[in-house]
Symmetry: C2
Subunit: 340 residues, 2 copies
């Protein structure tokens, strides 16, 4: 079925009685080659099922047309690997990279080496790196940045960094979520999430800003630190209620998955949503509108984010400087919170 020996560019050249230069140019659509010749050779290549050997052309051109995408996981729990939001970002990046002629090499921070620039760039595995999530420590990311490798990070674009960060306006998101609950007459609003995380800490700042602005007592700290998984949120809420009763009437969750965990813990205790407790999530994953009650949340526009991340990376691949970019967020009002 398969042809005997894989044909090479040289073989194709012989078949067509032209030089390898000509075939190479023709297959790369180089306008130097007469259009007829180009088309003839392209047809011949297709006929013989020939594809350029990328290993060879990468070696020769010193360019891979591959981008490494690193899921920067905080811990190794299954849950965080499969957060639909992160995976959605990967999917959108894949689309966008393909469109720009790049392939996506998927990786995660649990890999053996910590020297990402060396592993991916020096070794010619990829031309650039996109890191999804700043995690709790940005050491590895900074190492890449210092190496000068093309790099874009999905994270918090507000804080200072010497590399290009694309991310939502997390502070504003936290603020809007909290304000929305306050305007729905919530008085004791819980912040549920991990303030050590760069992005989450910004959301927390927004939460504090809203409380302050509306003269709610900030000192009674209703911040419940918890990992960014549904399970952790579920456990935290359950434990908190067991210990202190229902001491809150609103929850600002740091992600939709966290909100989901909280929602379950509350519903199991027959606490009315939103009548007793209003909840706002963050991300707007597909599931948010399908929950019952549907989840009010802060939507992150992953499509635009992916487009901009790729743009910023391509800029660097072309030797230009890249900036950090703030992506607009939007409050999506649904049924898990009272309207005002």
């Amino acid at each position: 079925m398969a042809n005997e020996n894989k044909i090479t560019l040289a073989g194709l050249a012989k078949l067509a009685s032209v030089s390898t230069s000509t075939v190479s140019r023709a297959l790369n659509d180089n306008p130097l080659i007469k259009k007829e010749t180009r088309e003839r050779l392209q047809a011949l290549a297709k006929e013989h099922n020939f594809s350029l050997n990328r290993a060879a052309s990468r070696l020769r051109t010193q360019k891979t047309n591959v981008v490494a995408v690193i899921l920067n996981l905080t811990d190794s729990t299954d849950q965080s690997i499969s957060d639909p939001f992160l995976l959605k970002v990967v999917g959108d990046l894949n689309q966008e990279l393909n469109q720009m002629g790049y392939e996506l090499l998927l990786s995660n921070s649990l890999m053996a080496t910590e020297d990402w620039a060396n592993y991916f760039i020096s070794s010619s595995r990829a031309d650039g790196i996109i890191v999804i999530g700043q995690g709790k420590s940005t050491d590895n990311i900074e190492k890449v940045a210092n190496s000068g490798a093309p790099l874009v990070v999905w994270g918090d674009p507000i804080g200072l960094s010497n590399y290009s960060v694309v991310g939502s306006n997390n502070e504003l998101g936290g603020y809007l979520a909290t304000k929305h609950l306050i305007e729905g007459a919530c008085k004791n609003i819980l912040f549920l999430g991990d303030p050590e995380h760069a992005e989450m800490s910004e959301r927390h700042k927004g939460y504090i800003r809203a409380l302050t602005e509306f003269n709610l007592d900030v000192r009674r700290n209703l911040t419940l630190s918890c990992d960014i998984t549904s399970k952790a949120a579920y456990d935290k809420i359950a434990a908190a209620i067991l210990e202190k009763g229902l001491f809150f009437d609103g929850v600002v969750a740091t992600s939709d998955m966290v909100a989901l965990g909280a929602l379950k813990a509350l519903k199991e205790r027959y606490i009315g949503i939103p009548s007793d407790v209003g909840i706002v999530g963050f991300d707007d994953i597909a599931m948010a509108e399908l929950l019952h009650p549907s989840l009010t949340t802060i939507k992150q526009d992953t499509k635009s984010a992916a487009k901009i991340m790729v743009q910023q990376l391509v800029k660097q691949l072309n030797g230009q400087a890249a900036q950090s970019t703030v992506i607009d967020i939007e409050l999506i009002e649904r049924n898990s919170s009272r309207t005002h």
Copy 2:
């Protein structure tokens, strides 16, 4: 910050006053080289931040150590791209591939070319291909199989195929889901899903088998054909009820996301779950146990599946034949169905 010119293996050899052969062997941990020499050279490489150029070694060895993973999407809706189950499979494959020394090149079926073997294998982009999902047509997959390229497919392992398929026992899953509802006293059980899909059609067979076995009337066909997305399921259920009222008391959903859409449509109409209608999903995505009520479902063991898929692929990469494998499934009883 970065060293002037990127150092090569030859440069390193000169520095160490040994031959390039020795350095190459040392860095590849070849036991031919004396242990001391090996360690000395590895240390030197680390010190100079040297990584082997993969483009070069791939060209030389004709091996990439890369596996292309193709998400075989049925349509281009955002929803199906972001089905948490598919993405979970990708995540598990990534872990497993890394462990075996392979990298994961992520792709999807929306790419320009349809000749996957040519694009990935002939071009030396990857050594093998894993396709996630058989979709409605297996034409592209069969083309790869016929080319002789190493290939493993996540799909329905029961039906005949001339390539290695790894997948759950879908027929049994459909059967168990249906039986469970029947034993919970459901009399009119809806099958919600797309029977054109290879995997879904097996689940449908299991559904029919259970109905038959328990003497329920199979002729009154309660199969509601619907795309594998929450949105589609939601719309279908809503439309069906509008037209015919609540003519069913059980739903076998073809995936958890489909179950989620059905759940929402029912709850919005104040239909009790499981008192009025019992629901069983398929997949056991993370969210299933966090829904309210938590979702009874057929668990697919993606961890084992990923391990076996990689094993079967590696077999082929080593020139051995690979088989299809059936992964065990398990009914996870939760609160969306009545217990018996």
